[in-house]
């Protein structure tokens, strides 16, 4: 595999066979990616699927065991230093100084990235306002809530207006409302021309990305825009309601045409192979002994895509998130 679109200025990141091993364990396995300018690209995968390792390789923090990458025109493995000024990185766990205040942390970042004095002041003021941190401006970072720290980390990561922003599970510790606001800020950034690479194990978050790659044990299982992935799902989704759902699930899982089944509330969500004719009738027939049930076909969502791509119910991200 070669990095084909090397000269295309619209291509921000391209990788070929990117691999990283830790001892006998392969954390990232021959990943080929192309990420273009101005998109939000999501890495969706459960814990341990290699999202962080992949990001660390793309920022030059880890040297790939095999394969190559080209990020903003910088070849990796190689000299990643010219990259640092052009990228922002929000690490998975809070990595700013807990014993400094919000303003002090931002001021540190501004100085490290070499913002001139005037610009430093106005930029910090703008960011405090934009990320709703004015009330916490002089609060010690260690004493803030997870959501506030998240905002500080994002503000610090975008302070020097990077072309490419890496966000490693940015909202895993915050409530849904904060997450919604957070994503609104991300779309503002994209409107400003920033390219964003975000990792997540939340389906709703992945659904907001322009394109995603689903990772499992370091391997890219499937890649594309969420609507295309849902439309292209090689399975039909049947929702089953009834009294004995647990028993029903056992019956369904034994059938070769059923890819997976999962109980969601009072319903059973069943993926049936696309080549199975009349899937509703097929499921109903299977559940003949399980009391009265109703079956109807429904639209595929991203979780169905994920489940189908990662081969069944194992390592379901929704469970990992819980």
């Amino acid at each position: 595999m070669t990095i084909s679109q090397q000269t295309d200025p619209e291509v921000v990141v391209s990788t070929a066979g990117l691999t990283r091993r830790f001892g006998p364990k392969t954390a990232v396995d021959a990943v080929d990616l192309t990420i273009t300018r101005g998109e939000i690209f999501g890495f969706l995968g459960p814990n341990g699927s290699g999202k962080t390792t992949l990001m660390r390789m793309l920022t030059g923090l880890l040297i790939p065991s095999e394969g190559r990458a080209r990020v903003l025109g910088v070849d990796l493995p190689g000299k990643p230093e010219p990259l640092k000024q052009k990228i922002g990185y929000m690490t998975q766990s809070f990595s700013h100084y807990r014993d400094l205040t919000v303003t002090e942390n931002l001021d540190f970042a501004a100085r490290i990235y070499g913002l001139p004095r005037r610009r430093r002041k106005t930029r910090i003021e703008t960011l405090l306002q934009r990320y709703d941190l004015e009330a916490q401006a002089h609060q010690i970072a260690g004493s803030m809530s997870g959501g506030q720290r998240q905002k500080l980390a994002l503000a610090a990561a975008v302070l020097h207006e990077p072309l490419l922003l890496f966000l490693d599970e940015p909202t895993s510790a915050v409530d849904p409302e904060t997450r919604r606001q957070f994503w609104a800020r991300l779309f503002d950034l994209v409107d400003g021309g920033t390219t964003i690479i975000v990792s997540t194990h939340f389906m709703d978050e992945a659904e907001r990305c322009h394109r995603i790659a689903i990772l499992e044990t370091g391997i890219t299982r499937i890649e594309g825009a969420p609507p295309d992935l849902m439309a292209g799902l090689k399975a039909n989704v049947i929702e089953v309601t009834g009294d004995q759902l647990r028993h029903a699930k056992d019956l369904l899982d034994a059938d070769p045409a059923v890819l997976s089944s999962a109980q969601i509330g009072a319903r059973l969500r069943v993926l049936v192979r696309k080549d199975q004719a009349d899937p509703e009738a097929h499921v109903a027939a299977l559940l003949h002994d399980a009391g009265p049930v109703t079956c109807h076909r429904t639209r595929a969502n991203l979780e169905d895509v994920f489940v189908a791509a990662t081969g069944g119910g194992a390592a379901r991200p929704a469970e990992a998130a819980a």
Partner: protein
């Protein structure tokens, strides 16, 4: 290109963190303060008041006078009396006393014949008259205490007989420069500057890089354009200032409490001290790039600190050490500093006299910085 701005960023951040770290901040002041007071008073190389026992087999007025005279030297304090030499020996084994004076029953007979009282010296071959007056049995395991007792070996006993002493002409005349009263503090206080700086400077910086990793800041830091050398310099500068504050505390208090003057020029003192602080800090940074956590950093600090105390000439004279020990000691910045600070503070030594040691310390500092910088990888 090294960026002054980025060094400033690191420097400012270190100062802010230091200000909020009450514990470290307190140690900066308290370590020199307490240790100076403690060691200034406690360390005394002139041995005094050793607890000793007495076996008086004579029990005469003469023996009591002898004991009194030995007591007035203040080298020993008679704290115990024993009936027999055997009991005395047991007491020595049990560490009740460090030495015992055994006065034989024939004390008067021994006394009349000894030369100290003015009679003509007896021929050395005359066993009867060449006998000493009494015997010390000493727990010789502590050489300092043994030496203290040994110093009593030929104390004059003329007073015992109210006779003017014979004029004794010493073989050598000794003129004591720089510390004529032989006060230990004069030697200890400048030396303590070296020890306390070694301890605090290496301790603070050896944790400096490790702390960034331990607190999870490293991943952020190595994602910024900061260069390793900028990081190192930015981390060193605040501690240079701290080191100077500590030196001021030690020498200032040394003057107030122990009357140890600073005879040399303050500029020379500043240059020498800054060089030593720089060398210690860069050594600390090297340790910091080796250690994987703060505990390891602390262990490595102790590994450097112990030889710095024992081999640098702080405790024992450097010139008295065997060759290999001297060679090892020469590697330590503290050894060079010990000679220099005593030179400046006590003897008003000039910079030019210490060029060798200063060059060595400057080289050590630059080498340490380079090693630390090369060892520091902006990777995980």
């Amino acid at each position: 290109m090294i960026s002054i701005g980025r060094i400033g960023a690191i420097l400012k951040k270190e100062l802010l963190q230091l200000r909020r770290d009450r514990m470290t901040f307190g140690m900066v002041i308290m370590i020199p303060l307490i240790q100076l007071v403690l060691f200034g008073y406690a360390i005394n190389t002139n041995i005094r008041h050793i607890p000793v026992g007495l076996v008086d087999q004579d029990q005469s007025g003469l023996s009591r006078m002898l004991v009194q005279m030995v007591g007035t030297t203040q080298v020993v304090d008679f704290t115990q009396t024993y009936a027999t030499p055997q009991q005395a020996q047991q007491a020595l084994t049990a560490a009740e006393v460090r030495a015992v004076l055994i006065i034989p029953p024939d004390l008067p007979a021994r006394l009349v014949r000894i030369p100290a009282i003015g009679a003509a010296p007896p021929p050395a071959t005359d066993m009867a008259s060449a006998r000493p007056v009494a015997q010390w049995i000493v727990d010789g395991s502590d050489t300092m205490i043994a030496a203290g007792i040994k110093s009593l070996r030929s104390m004059p006993l003329t007073e015992l007989f109210r006779q003017p002493p014979n004029r004794v002409v010493p073989t050598f005349e000794v003129a004591l420069f720089y510390n004529p009263e032989q006060r230990s503090a004069v030697n200890i206080v400048p030396g303590l500057v070296g020890i306390i700086l070694t301890m605090t400077m290496i301790m603070f910086t050896s944790a400096a890089i490790v702390r960034e990793s331990e607190r999870g800041n490293m991943e952020m830091l190595i994602n910024t354009p900061v260069r390793p050398i900028e990081l190192m310099i930015g981390k060193i500068i605040p501690y240079m200032v701290i080191g100077l504050v500590q030196v001021a505390i030690i020498l200032g208090l040394g003057y107030l409490l122990f009357n140890v003057p600073v005879n040399g020029s303050l500029w020379v003192l500043l240059v020498v001290t800054l060089l030593f602080i720089g060398a210690s800090l860069s050594l600390g940074l090297v340790l910091s790039t080796i250690a994987t956590n703060q505990l390891q950093a602390m262990q490595m600090t102790v590994f450097i600190l112990l030889p710095s105390i024992l081999l640098s000439g702080f405790m024992f004279p450097f010139d008295g050490m065997p060759g290999p020990a001297q060679a090892i000691a020469q590697l330590l910045p503290a050894t060079h500093f010990m000679q220099m600070i005593r030179g400046v503070v006590l003897r008003d030594a000039a910079l030019i006299d210490m060029a060798g040691g200063m060059l060595w310390m400057a080289g050590f500092m630059v080498f340490g910085l380079i090693v630390a910088t090369l060892r520091f990888r902006k990777r995980l």
